[in-house]
Structure formats: C-alpha cells, structure tokens
C-alpha cells in the first residue's frame, strides 16, 4: 500500500529514520562490541569502535563466575511458566468480560490493574515471610507464582480488548449449533484469537523476563534468574567493563532474539483496544 512519494522524499525519510534508529540502538550495539574486546581495550582512553583483538575470553570469565545456563533455564521456566499459567486463568475471565459484560466489568478491570500499583519494596517483608512459611523461598515454582500474579492484570486486559473485537455473532452461531461452552472457547474463540493470545504471551514473557525485584530478593543459588546473574557483575572490580558487557549480552540475548523473530506477532496484538 505504499503511497506515491518522490524518491528524494523517500531518501530523506530513510536517512532520518536510520539515524534515529541507530541512535536508539547504540547502547546495545556498544555493549555487543565491548563484549568482544579485551579489558584493556574496553577502557582505553583512545576508544576503538570495532574490537582490535577480537576475544571470547570475557564469556569464559563470566561463565566461570556464574553458571549462565542454570540462570537462563530458570528465566525461561519462570517467564513462560508464569505467562502460560496466567493465560489459563485469564482466558475464561476475559471471555466473560468481553461476551457477558455487566455494569461492573470496567470497574473490575480497573481494579485488577490497580493491584499492579502496589510498590514491591513496600510489601517485600510480608511476601518474604509468607514465602518462608510456605517453603517457597528460592524455588522456581514460587517465583513463577509471583510472576503470574504480577502480570495477570495485564494478561486479562490484553485478552479482553482482543476478545471484544471478535464479532459476537460467530460465537452465537456456534452456540446455536449446540456447542458446549468449553467447546465454544477452545474450538471457536481461541483459534480466532490466536494472534491476540500470541501477542499477549510474548509481551508478558518479556515483562516477566525483565522483572528485577522479586527475582533477586526471593532467590539465592537455585532459582536465580538472569536478573540475579547480572547482579554479580554489577559493581566494578578492577577491570570489568568488557566482562560486564559480555554478561549483559548473555542476559538479554535470548529475549532479544525471541523479540526479533516474533516482532510481527508481538506487534499485531499490541493494541490494548486502542484500535477499532
């Protein structure tokens, strides 16, 4: 649907867009480049752009200090586990909000969102005590539970706005055919809503992956995620910049790749009802 524009306009916009995009990307780019430099080169007073002595030693040093794969697997389990659990709880709720709304639907939705406004630091001790008594400290399932609760309001809201765009008639028709409610949801609603569900899944995986308060305070060695992993590199110790960059790159790489490959799906459903 490209609009007709002159080539010179197109060149102008392209140059501008690339300049802005590279500016925004530069912190990440700089981190990637630094990760492959030697420590001495990373802090040299005459900076180099590309690594002069390309090296992988930083990654080795990072792995020696903190087991990357263990933390990465925990991150994957927690972020996907909590999102899937959240979807299971949220799909029925969003269904009833979208297709059997009452006067209070909007209030309930807003109330759900308001639970996200509780400052985590204020409730750390209560949660810590509960976790201690339920033996959930430093467990992957405990962390998954917290992440589910934190992201549930967003999941419900995204699904609700997406479901609302599905014409009621189609569901009605299915119901006329005598479809059970469960079948209506699993066979009619969910398939139609796949793009919305996929987008919800992706956004919430990202949010859970990036959560950096509970994942650090409620874990020690076993259940630590990548946010805890990065925390062991976060204060400079002698020459550290290249190692920090390598650790940062490792911590964000999985989610960055996931985001890049799935950006079409992510974007498609990311409307929060803003588009009609």
């Amino acid at each position: 649907m490209a609009r007709r524009v002159s080539t010179s306009t197109k060149v102008g916009f392209t140059v501008l867009a690339w300049a802005v995009a590279l500016l925004l990307f530069s912190p990440i780019l700089w981190t990637v480049l630094t990760a492959f430099k030697t420590e001495a080169e990373a802090i040299a007073s005459q900076p180099t752009f590309f690594p002069q002595n390309f090296t992988l030693e930083n990654f080795g040093a990072v792995q020696d200090r903190s087991d990357y794969f263990k933390h990465a697997i925990n991150s994957i389990i927690v972020s996907f586990g909590s999102t899937i659990l959240g979807l299971i709880i949220a799909i029925p709720a969003a269904w009833s909000m979208a297709f059997a709304p009452s006067k209070r639907t909007k209030d309930i939705l807003m109330w759900m969102l308001s639970t996200k406004m509780m400052p985590a630091v204020g409730v750390l001790i209560p949660i810590y005590l509960i976790f201690r008594d339920l033996r959930l400290l430093d467990t992957v399932h405990g962390l998954t539970l917290i992440m589910t609760l934190i992201n549930l309001p967003i999941i419900v809201w995204m699904l609700y706005t997406y479901f609302k765009e599905i014409p009621v008639d189609i569901l009605e028709a299915a119901r006329m055919d005598g479809a059970e409610l469960w079948n209506e949801i699993t066979h009619v609603l969910v398939p139609m809503a796949v793009p919305g569900i996929a987008s919800t899944l992706l956004l919430n995986v990202i949010l859970a992956w990036n959560e950096a308060f509970w994942t650090i305070t409620l874990t020690s060695g076993r259940a630590g995620t990548l946010t805890a992993f990065i925390s062991s590199f976060s204060s400079p110790q002698g020459l550290f910049l290249a190692k920090l960059s390598a650790a940062s790159l490792l911590a964000i790489a999985p989610i960055l790749l996931l985001g890049w490959f799935s950006q079409k799906q992510l974007v498609r459903g990311l409307t929060f009802g803003a588009v009609k």
Partner: protein, 290 residues
C-alpha cells in the same frame, strides 16, 4: 442477550482471576497495614509493640519525603512526555515508505527487551561514565569536558534511561494505531488539500488519542514503581536528588531494616498510587468507553 444462565456462568469463569488477585492484593496489604502500626525492626528484636501513628509520623517527617514525592511526579511525567512525543514522531517516521523498514523496526524496539538492571548498567558504565563511557569519549572528541551525568543531572539521567526503555513500547502502540487509520481517510484529506500539519492535527491526532491514553495508563503503572534503575545508578543521590517514593520506602524499610516505618511508607505509596490511579482511570475510562 445475556441470559441469567450466561451471567452466572460468566461470574464463575471470572472467579479464579478475581479471587487470586484479591488474595494477592489483600494479604500483603493487610500485613503491611499491620506492620505499619508496629514497632518492628529486622535487626533489633528489642523493638516490639504497638507503635500508633509513630511510623507514619516518622516517614512523612523524613527530610526527603517532599522531594521524593516531587521526584516521583517529575520522573513519571518526564518519561511520559519523552516517550509520547518521541513515540509519535517515531511512529510517523516508521509509517513512511522507507528502505529497510523491517530492520529499522527491530532496531527501534530492541531497548524494550533489555532488563532494567542491564539497561542501567550499560548506560552507567558504557555510556554515561565520564572516564570511559561512550558519551565521555564523544565530549572529549569535540574538545569538551566530559559530563558527570549521575552527579550533575541525576534525575534527568534516570529519566533518560527509563525513557529509552519505554520509548519502543509507546512507538509500537502508536504505530499500530496509526497504521489502522485507513488509506481512504488519508487520501480524502489529501484530496481536500489539507497540508501535512492540518492532516496531523485534524485526522491523525484525534485517531491516536485513544492509543496515547493507553500508553499513559500502562506506563504510569510501571513508572510509579521505578526502582532498579535508581538503585543501580545513583542510589537515590547525590543527597536526595534522585530519590523517588519507591526508593524512599526501600531506604527506610530495607536499607535501615525498619519494617514498621517501611510498611508505613508502603501504605503511603499505595495511597499516592491510588490518587494517581483515580485521576488516570477517570481520564482513560472515558476514552475507553467509546
């Protein structure tokens, strides 16, 4: 259309989500309220008993309380301003016919995938450090004295980092909204001879209003609790220059191990969040009803 039966059914299906969220809200809240009226220090078991309003008096009397309240608002407002203005600009730009749109979009949304501690660390060390940061090198290249960002402009630096993380989110939502504006609408406007400024003002902006309110709503929820970025970069300082309410609660409750005062701070923060929420929901609710 909604029969009694479906309504009952709807309630049942809503129940799990409502119940778990209610528990998640009420249990910590009640415990926090309870602690906020107790003398409770983590490291001093001698401090016990009912405290009355003492914890609240202590927190509100904190020398940095007013400033952290103002900082919170500046932080939220500043990031919203940058992300919405910048996001609109970026969305308009990415909506133009340009070469390499796919890659461009990937570059622009990438900051959203960077976890807050990593974002803070790479900005702090790789970028803003006056000695070996990228910006320091750049300043020196132009013969200028490198800026010591976190000491000279602490709150501004935090705003920049947070805005960098959230700009992609705003851009994406605004871009999606923009692209849903039908081609006919635009062409009709062009035919009418409306110039670019007028097209933006009368066609595009009204269409985007809804998306902008969504961005404000969601980002505010996250921005009120900004914490990791401050802790990693400025530690709330120098002085209290970059202390927001969340960090103040952290300082009284966790750094000083004073759970009573920290809980009182938590309750105050919840009240402030709710005041903001009421305003927000009013504004957004109107926009969402349509």
């Amino acid at each position: 259309m909604a029969t009694k039966q479906t309504r009952a059914l709807a309630r049942t299906m809503m129940a799990p989500a409502v119940i778990v969220l209610f528990i998640w809200m009420i249990v910590p809240l009640v415990m926090t309220l309870w602690f906020s009226f107790q003398n409770y220090s983590l490291i001093n078991p001698m401090m016990t008993g009912f405290a009355g309003w003492a914890n609240y008096v202590y927190v509100i009397g904190d020398p940095s309380f007013t400033q952290s309240l103002i900082n919170t608002l500046i932080l939220v407002g500043g990031v919203l301003l940058i992300t919405i203005v910048g996001g609109t600009f970026l969305a308009l730009l990415l909506d133009q016919p340009i070469w390499g749109q796919g890659i461009l979009r990937i570059l622009v949304i990438s900051p959203f995938f960077v976890m807050p501690p990593v974002a803070a660390l790479i900005w702090k060390n790789g970028f803003m450090h006056p000695g070996y940061g990228m910006l320091g090198h750049l300043w020196k290249f132009f013969g200028l004295q490198p800026v010591d960002w976190f000491n000279q402009y602490p709150l501004f630096s935090v705003i920049v980092i947070v805005a960098w993380q959230w700009l992609p989110f705003a851009t994406l939502i605004l871009l999606t909204a923009l692209q849903s504006l039908s081609e006919e609408q635009r062409e009709a406007a062009e035919m009418d001879g409306a110039n670019a400024v007028n097209r933006f003002r009368y066609i595009i902006m009204p269409h985007m209003a809804r998306a902008i309110t969504i961005v404000i709503l969601i980002q505010t929820i996250f921005l009120l609790g900004i914490f990791a970025e401050i802790r990693v970069t400025t530690g709330g300082g120098p002085g209290y220059a970059s202390t927001n309410i969340a960090f103040l609660v952290f300082r009284t409750g966790i750094l000083s191990n004073d759970i009573g005062a920290g809980s009182a701070g938590g309750v105050v923060a919840v009240i402030i969040a709710n005041i903001v929420a009421i305003f927000l929901m009013r504004a957004v609710g109107k926009n969402l009803d349509a």
